[in-house]
């Protein structure tokens, strides 16, 4: 059976800027999200690791399933955000149950 399609957004963001990102998502119209702790990583700024007992460079993964229009608004708002702060954001299509939720 063909399922309804929605957008999944994933952002990787630094712990100090997490609340700002969640606000950005909410303002764009995202109604649900789930945050996961990242453990380590590498990017333009070099490597980081949670074992550094120091929260300064810790990262979080934010997942949010939403509809296409909202996703587009998020992408637009995310551009200046990720210019300023470290991290990345990307999207992909997913098939969902109960599409009216998102």
């Amino acid at each position: 059976m063909a399922r309804a399609v929605r957008k999944k957004l994933i952002a990787i963001v630094e712990v100090a800027h997490l609340n700002r990102l969640l606000e950005l998502l909410t303002q764009a119209g995202v109604t649900g999200f789930t945050v996961v702790d990242a453990r380590a990583g590498r990017g333009l700024e070099g490597e980081w690791d949670r074992a550094d007992f120091n929260d300064a460079t810790q990262k979080k993964l934010v997942h949010a399933i939403t509809n296409a229009a909202t996703a587009e608004r998020v992408f637009e708002a995310a551009e200046p955000f990720f210019d300023r702060y470290p991290g990345i954001i990307y999207g992909q299509d997913v098939e969902v149950l109960r599409p009216e939720r998102f």
Binding site: A16, H17, D52, F53, A56, R84
Partner: protein, 326 residues
């Protein structure tokens, strides 16, 4: 003199310093020894709670004195002003960009709680224990340097973010370690010796053991950070060794002016010579996201901290004694 050497040696063979060395060894040898993040944070919370509480009880017993007020003022002034020297030196000695130099400079105005704790123990063993109220000075010194750092970074700070500087300052002042230190200090003052009776086995008896375990982890982290030393260049490394001497030296001058006791003078030197590795990095990620964290974390954790722990503390103590007698 001979006595100072004996004390310096006792410092180097104390469990705390040796566990730090073990951590560095394990890290450099790429052992998979690791302290879980949550445990390391728990130990850090414990240390701040214990040090704050003990300081507060000490002040409850001694009362608020002019010495405390003077030392606190001195600490705040040092915290505000040391980043200026640090920034100037970094701009001369290294090729770091402005934001990174400003962020690094801020670390040197602020303080390292563990360095202070190791220093306080050293002073106690040397028979010139510092006053309990130096903990209040420590807590007050944590944040002013951050403001100087932001000023030094200039318009680049928080580049174009809609947050006002006021919001930034609020976030910085409410940093968890600052709140826990000052809060525990206040609780120690309010609950006083009666409170101490209840918490003594926790905050006093366990302290050295928890500190040893925490230092093991700091050694592991410092070793991981050592790889960042290449990015610093020779100039950066030299800065990380010279700046604590300057910080301690200026503090000694201030202590002489204020006629602090030998113990308090040495404690102020240790504070001024130490560099933050919790509160300031967190603040800099918020306020100066473009500054390179690898630079300031390496400077603070992998160069200045080990130097202070092993050589700086005995040296500052010896200087304080030489100048102030005792």
């Amino acid at each position: 003199m001979a006595e100072m050497f004996a004390l310096a040696l006792a410092n180097l063979t104390s469990p705390a310093v040796l566990f730090f060395a073990l951590g560095v060894f394990a890290g450099v040898a790429r052992s998979d020894l690791a302290v879980p993040e949550a445990v390391a944070k728990g130990l850090a919370l414990y240390l701040m709670l214990a040090i704050g509480f003990k300081g507060g009880v000490a002040v409850a017993e001694q009362g608020l004195t002019t010495t405390l007020i003077l030392a606190a003022l001195a600490g705040v002034v040092l915290s505000f002003s040391m980043p200026l020297i640090a920034f100037a030196l970094l701009r001369i000695m290294t090729s770091l960009d402005r934001a990174t130099a400003a962020a690094s400079a801020a670390h040197y105005g602020s303080i390292s709680v563990v360095t202070f704790v190791a220093g306080a123990e050293f002073l106690r063993l040397s028979g010139i224990a510092s006053s309990g109220h130096m903990v209040a000075v420590l807590a007050l010194m944590e944040t002013p340097a951050i403001l100087t750092g932001l000023l030094l970074a200039g318009s680049g700070a928080a580049g174009g973010d809609k947050r006002t500087r006021g919001e930034l300052v609020r976030e910085v002042m409410l940093n968890g370690s600052v709140v826990l230190l000052l809060g525990s200090f206040a609780i120690g003052m309010i609950s006083g010796p009666a409170g101490m009776t209840k918490l003594e086995p926790f905050v006093v008896d366990l302290f050295q053991g928890v500190l040893a375990l925490f230092l093991l982890d700091m050694g592991l982290v410092a070793a991981r950070r050592l790889s960042g030393a290449r990015r610093l260049g020779l100039g950066g490394v030299v800065f990380g060794l010279v700046m604590p001497l300057i910080g301690a030296g200026v503090a000694l001058g201030v202590a002489v002016l204020l006629r602090l006791s030998v113990g308090d003078a040495a404690a102020l030197m240790i504070l001024s010579g130490s560099a933050s590795y919790i509160a300031v990095p967190a603040a800099m990620r918020i306020a100066l996201p473009k500054a390179d964290p690898a630079v300031y974390l390496t400077l603070s954790l992998a160069i200045t901290f080990p130097f202070n722990l092993t050589l700086g503390i005995p040296l500052y103590t010896a200087l304080a004694r030489a100048v102030l007698g005792g």
